[in-house]
């Protein structure tokens, strides 16, 4: 059995962190230009804020929080679709984590659950099978979300539903891809990002290779990083060293789990069931071509978007005017630049999805930071 302590031991050693901070400061002094690092994944945003790493870093490093949180980038119309599905007679809507708290245009899934809809947050997508078996006369819709990391699990769920001939399991697919999001960020004429911390969980599945085009096309270092404080500090140091040497390379800091090629079996499973969706609208980033997945035609009989085609709303719904989630996800604004941050928008009553998810930039800033600017922080 895996010893749970192996998950973190050694990666929070104060001495290691202090010595990495010293090394970073040393290299930082040699740099002529500031470094604007985008941590694409909300998990890294969380690490930086939760462990107070900003306190340890020199002023010429700025973090820009990217669009790598599956909850944050979900446009309202997709949440509305989930809510409509949950309102159908004899439908059980199943989804993961924070998704049930994200506001749609008519409320969050949690609010629909309170009105009597059968909406079940689960820990493991495979729990869907048990729900389907226990409720043979109901239609169970799995509202699938997440990046490359979580797609294989949905594929396995689909495969098992097929094998077990569970005809009442359907899928509403919202799986999205990291590289097109990076392209969208970099194609913005105002983009300031000049280095990336790459999401490690994504790369465990897809391999570090998916970032190679970004390195070559934009001349930015990409370091694939783990999520512990030592991981992130070491990744920052590696980025600094590349910058100091005038290089832009793909580097894997999280080598204990990530390889260049990734998990080929998982990739094959995804290939088997999914194909690229021509276009998906991202919250804040707008429509991005080839940036998401959908079921292959041979699994159309499992596709909730087809099965419930007649009742699903398709109207695109933008965020609240005052909400700056879009600019924050593009790296053009900081959470505290948003006028409603901590006032009209807080984790209890979020206006924007960046405040909802524990991996959202606004949520991380709200929870952990603002010690020096409390008047702005908790109001």
């Amino acid at each position: 059995m895996l010893e749970l302590k192996q998950l973190y031991q050694g990666f929070r050693d104060p001495q290691t962190i202090a010595s990495l901070a010293q090394d970073i400061a040393k290299v930082a002094r040699t740099l002529k230009e500031p470094i604007n690092i985008m941590e694409v994944c909300g998990g890294h945003t969380h690490t930086i804020m939760k462990y107070g790493l900003l306190d340890l870093l020199p002023d010429n490093i700025e973090f820009i929080h990217g669009p790598g949180c599956p909850v944050c980038i979900m446009p309202k119309e997709r949440i509305d679709q989930a809510a409509v599905l949950a309102q159908q007679e004899d439908v059980i809507l199943v989804t993961l984590g924070d998704m049930i708290r994200v506001p749609g245009s008519k409320g969050s899934l949690a609010s629909f659950r309170a009105k009597g809809c059968d909406i079940r947050p689960i820990y493991d997508p495979l729990d869907t099978l048990k729900i389907a078996r226990d409720n043979p006369h109901k239609t169970v819709v799995f509202f699938a979300i997440g990046f490359e990391t979580s797609t294989p699990m949905t594929a396995v769920l689909l495969q098992l539903a097929e094998q077990q001939k569970l005809a009442n399991v359907f899928f509403h697919i919202n799986h999205v891809l990291v590289p097109p999001a990076i392209d969208a960020v970099m194609h913005d004429p105002n983009a300031r990002v000049n280095a990336f911390i790459g999401p490690a969980h994504v790369s465990v599945i897809s391999g570090a290779k998916i970032y190679r085009p970004a390195v070559e096309q934009y001349g930015t270092p990409v370091v694939v990083s783990g999520f512990e404080p030592v991981d992130v500090m070491e990744s920052i140091l590696r980025i600094m060293r590349q910058k100091a040497a005038g290089k832009a390379e793909l580097d894997i800091q999280y080598s204990r789990a990530v390889s260049e090629q990734g998990n080929l079996a998982a990739q094959a499973k995804v290939e088997q069931f999914f194909q690229i969706r021509p276009q998906f609208r991202w919250r804040g980033l707008g429509p991005i071509p080839n940036s998401a997945l959908q079921l292959k035609p041979e699994y159309a009989h499992r596709d909730a978007e087809l099965r419930f085609k007649n009742c699903l709303p398709v109207k695109e719904i933008d965020d609240h005017k005052a909400c700056q989630c879009g600019d924050i996800l593009r790296g053009l604004a900081k959470p505290k630049d948003c006028k409603v941050f901590g006032r009209g928008c807080n984790p209890e009553t979020p206006l924007g999805s960046c405040m909802v998810s524990s991996e959202g930039a606004c949520n991380a800033y709200y929870r952990y930071q603002g010690i020096d600017s409390k008047e702005q922080h908790h109001g």
Partner: protein, 339 residues
């Protein structure tokens, strides 16, 4: 031991109907296990002799699953209410016990739960002196709900969140997060192997010793739902003080740390059912700690922080590498991270 008929395997609606079956259930199970003269008198209300300042509290227990490593809903229902009294410096005396049972509930499980309550009562010497039994149709409750109310004689007045003051030390009675983690692990879908047990326990014995030793207790609170984070934030706001805690000093066992890693939780946000937080003047903190550490459940008690007047209403966590961040209240349902 109660002699409960084994023929009746499950609770029927008739067990709540006020007739023979209900009478049998109450006599053979509840009266036998909770036996005491006040309960046995079977009046409409218990007649109590209360003297001086009295603490009164109530709590409903709806935990799922009903049985978990280190306890069950019955142990929880007694320990929870007794602890609420203890945290006010009150000696737990009399409890009520109301059960709402779903039709079809296993009589064997009910018996186990009631016996567990009776066993836990012995830890504080409190007695259940009145109660109520309702049976609701299948589907109207999740197995079993228990409500317990309790009264206790206040031996040490003026223990209050409002009394937390700059210059106080914050002490936690043991490692945090065990109950929340044990419940998570017991829930469907989390098939992890672990020795982890809930911390569910009656806290009166150790509190009694702190009172006997004349420790000036400014505030005490058992860190139940919302965990350590919730208690500290409530205190910071209630007393309008700042609280700084050192992450490295907060005891957390390896299992809880590991589970938090897997699911993206913070140990400080997880529920406890036998862990309490104290605010005492800094100069007597070591003395209080010594008394606590002599007790079972409190061997790992630790001083985790101090109260100051720097950022009133805020709790600051100092990391082992000397950076700072807020330790905020946990939000919403505890849901695992997505990626």
């Amino acid at each position: 031991m109660a002699d409960v008929s084994t023929k009746e395997k499950a609770i029927q609606l008739s067990h709540g109907g006020g007739g023979k079956e209900m009478n049998k259930l109450i006599r053979e199970l509840f009266f036998t296990e909770f036996d005491n003269p006040i309960l046995r008198s079977e009046e409409d209300a218990a007649k109590l002799e209360l003297q001086g300042a009295t603490a009164f509290t109530t709590d409903s227990f709806t935990v799922s699953p009903l049985f978990f490593a280190g306890g069950d809903i019955g142990k929880l229902a007694v320990a929870g209410t007794v602890n609420d009294l203890a945290m006010m410096g009150a000696e737990p005396q009399y409890l009520s016990c109301s059960v709402i049972i779903e039709e079809g509930f296993s009589l064997k499980d009910l018996t186990t739960i009631v016996r567990s309550m009776a066993k836990e009562l012995k830890q504080s010497g409190a007695r259940i002196v009145c109660g109520d039994t309702k049976v609701v149709p299948k589907g109207c409750a999740d197995g079993l709900f228990i409500n317990t109310s309790g009264v206790g004689r206040i031996l040490r007045p003026n223990i209050s969140a409002a009394n937390v003051a700059p210059g106080d030390a914050i002490i936690v009675s043991r490692d945090v997060g065990c109950h929340g983690a044990a419940i998570l692990m017991a829930r469907e879908g989390l098939s992890l192997e672990s020795e982890l047990q809930s911390d569910c326990a009656t806290l009166w014995p150790v509190v009694e010793q702190l009172i006997a030793a004349n420790i000036p207790l400014h505030a005490m609170r058992d860190a139940t739902r919302g965990g350590l984070s919730a208690v500290l934030n409530e205190w910071a706001v209630a007393a309008n003080v700042g609280i700084t805690v050192n992450e490295a000093s907060i005891p957390v066992c390896d299992e809880v740390k590991g589970l938090c890693e897997l699911y993206g939780f913070e140990p400080m946000d997880l529920a406890n059912e036998g862990t309490f937080i104290l605010a005492v003047p800094n100069d007597i903190a070591l003395g209080a700690l010594e008394i606590m550490q002599r007790f079972g459940h409190c061997e790992s008690a630790a001083i985790i922080g101090t109260v100051n007047d720097e950022l009133p209403g805020k709790v600051i966590l100092r990391t082992p590498w000397n950076t700072k961040r807020y330790l905020d209240l946990p939000q919403g349902e505890l849901l695992p991270r997505i990626c």
